[in-house]
């Protein structure tokens, strides 16, 4: 029996356009969704439970709107859903200490999360949380097996490492060969009625502050050629103009 926590985050749909209003990103018209890599974390957590027994608790940090993401994973078979109620910016230090408190008091054996969130792309939460808890961690896993103990596959320079993991541990998940399940009508109906366990948190002091957001600098227009034969011209330009081949 394992007590499993899975961290999920609500982010803008990855197909959405990001707009800036003033000097801040404006997400008011953007469709929000679960961060894609978190879906693989949820799948691995559910498979872990199905393999050895236990419970899966999904945890998010965010405002009430983030309940949607918790309900979507509840529909997939997660047992408990917890939202740490906070709508303020937290730096990595603040976020990880908030999560570390929740994981410690919850008595979990293992934490799964996505390899990075689709908004910041940082990938700091998993390893940083593990360090604060004094746990081991493996990042960016692409495969997992539960036979004879937890074994994960993680990319290394030139190949993959197959790693035996001792619990407690934090595992951050990439897509790899993992196929995620879809929710069914019964799951969705049950999730609708499910209660989110909302816990208040005090926003920790932050040593990092957001100064501004901006669009990436536009690239000057390039050169466009018609027809396959122009590949020869482009090769010459890559040598003479760009100096890269």
């Amino acid at each position: 029996m394992v007590d499993i926590a899975v961290l999920v985050k609500q982010v803008p749909d990855t197909n959405s356009k990001i707009q800036i209003s003033g000097d801040r990103v404006d997400l008011s018209t953007v469709k929000m969704d679960i961060s894609p890599f978190d879906e693989f974390a949820v799948e691995n957590a559910l498979q872990h439970k199905e393999s050895v027994g236990g419970t899966v608790t999904a945890i998010t940090v965010g405002p009430a709107g983030a309940d949607k993401v918790l309900k979507s994973v509840k529909a997939l078979g997660v047992d408990n859903i917890i939202r740490l109620d906070c709508d303020d910016y937290m730096d990595s230090n603040g976020l990880q200490s908030t999560l570390a408190q929740e994981i410690s008091s919850g008595g979990y054996d293992i934490v799964y999360c996505g390899k990075s969130a689709a908004d910041t792309g940082a990938g700091s939460t998993g390893p940083g949380l593990a360090e604060r808890l004094g746990w081991g961690s493996v990042s960016n896993i692409t495969d997992i097996s539960f036979d004879g103990g937890l074994t994960v596959t993680s990319p290394t320079e030139g190949g993959n490492a197959i790693i035996a993991v001792t619990l407690p541990a934090v595992i951050t998940c990439d897509k790899g060969s993992i196929k995620v399940r879809k929710s069914n009508v019964k799951g969705i109906m049950m999730a609708k009625r499910a209660q989110v366990d909302v816990k208040p948190v005090t926003t920790p002091e932050s040593s990092v502050s957001i100064v501004s957001h901006m669009m990436p600098p536009a690239k000057p227009a390039g050169k466009k050629f018609e027809g396959g034969d122009s590949a020869q011209t482009v090769v010459q330009l890559l040598r003479d103009e760009a100096n890269i081949i």
Binding site: P127, L129, V208, G227, V235
Partner: protein, 310 residues
């Protein structure tokens, strides 16, 4: 100004030029740059003593550095870098380590920095669809993207100290599996040629491989290609839900340029696009666009490269 510490980036057991770029970044952020070289054999650290802009090299010697274990590496590095602003590369492994080291010291980490202006750091958010500028106070751990800052010269000569360190390993590597193909991974390559669904069938990726071999390039793919064909593994996927890359040259073949894909490769230094649809969004981001089918363009590309590169 704070003291700065650069964690050396190694590649295939050698000092990577990325380390010189990290020193450039460190000198923008503070003073007295110390390079820490995590190693099991300190001879590899000798190369770091030549890096201009550094004042000291510490070869942090430990058996734990033979294989990557996040917990043990952070512990071992922390013993030789107890204070100061720490700068690492933004490779997957170094970002992981950066987060660990920061958490160990209860300080914040800022990942994927692409520009430093005084104490303001810029990082791409939403996979580069926007840029976030942040300021920080006190010490922090900062990971810096490769190919962004100019490398310092190798004309220095600073002192080197070897310090034995140790850490508690929490995971056990059962097996190392070498990649079947000798070709580079997209995350390691300076040149990438990627195919999309416009390639028609996964078998046609062999034409991309042929060109990749001439250029020493990695072969990548769009999400559409990875999702459509089982033969194209997710490891090849470039984009917001795949890998974010910034090589010197990115060649997109039969890729329309979905926002998802652009997010993962738009910061490449030079972009070449080959697409039969003249209105494909990819052309707005290409330095050199070729409006043609891949069947028309790739043979010419291949023979021109052969003529040029021999």
């Amino acid at each position: 100004m704070s003291e700065t510490i650069v964690i050396a980036e190694l590649s295939n057991g050698k000092m990577s030029q990325t380390t010189n770029e990290l020193v450039t970044a460190a000198n923008k952020l503070g003073t007295n740059c110390t390079i820490i070289v995590p190693c099991s054999d300190s001879s590899i650290a000798n190369d770091a003593t030549k890096i201009s802009g550094a004042t000291k090299v510490i070869a942090a010697k430990s058996d734990v550095f033979a294989n990557y274990d996040a917990a043990a590496w952070a512990e071992a590095i922390d013993t030789v870098a107890p204070s100061g602003i720490i700068i690492t590369s933004a490779s997957a492994q170094s970002k992981d380590l950066a987060a660990r080291v920061a958490a160990r010291r209860s300080i914040s980490v800022v990942q994927d920095v692409i520009s430093i202006d005084g104490a303001t750091l810029s990082t791409p958010i939403y996979s580069g669809k926007a840029i976030q500028n942040v300021s920080f106070n006190g010490d922090a751990v900062i990971s810096v993207r490769a190919n962004v800052f100019p490398p310092t010269e190798n004309s220095g000569n600073c002192e080197m100290q070897v310090i034995d360190t140790t850490g508690n390993v929490s995971t056990a590597v059962k097996e190392m599996v070498q990649r079947a193909s000798q070709r580079l991974d997209v995350s390691e390559a300076n040149i990438i040629i990627s195919g999309g669904r416009g390639m028609g069938t996964p078998a046609n990726f062999s034409h991309l491989e042929e060109i990749a071999d001439k250029l020493g390039a990695a072969v990548g793919a769009s999400r559409a290609a990875v999702d459509t064909w089982d033969e194209i593994p997710h490891a090849m996927q470039v984009g917001q839900t795949g890998k974010t890359v910034n090589p010197n040259l990115y060649i997109a073949v039969g890729i329309s340029g979905a926002i998802q894909h652009l997010a993962g490769m738009r910061s490449s230094k030079y972009i070449v696009a080959i697409n039969k649809d003249a209105d494909a969004p990819i052309f707005q981001h290409a330095d050199y666009g070729i409006v043609a089918t891949w069947e028309e363009a790739l043979p010419v590309l291949s023979s021109s490269l052969s003529n040029l590169l021999g």
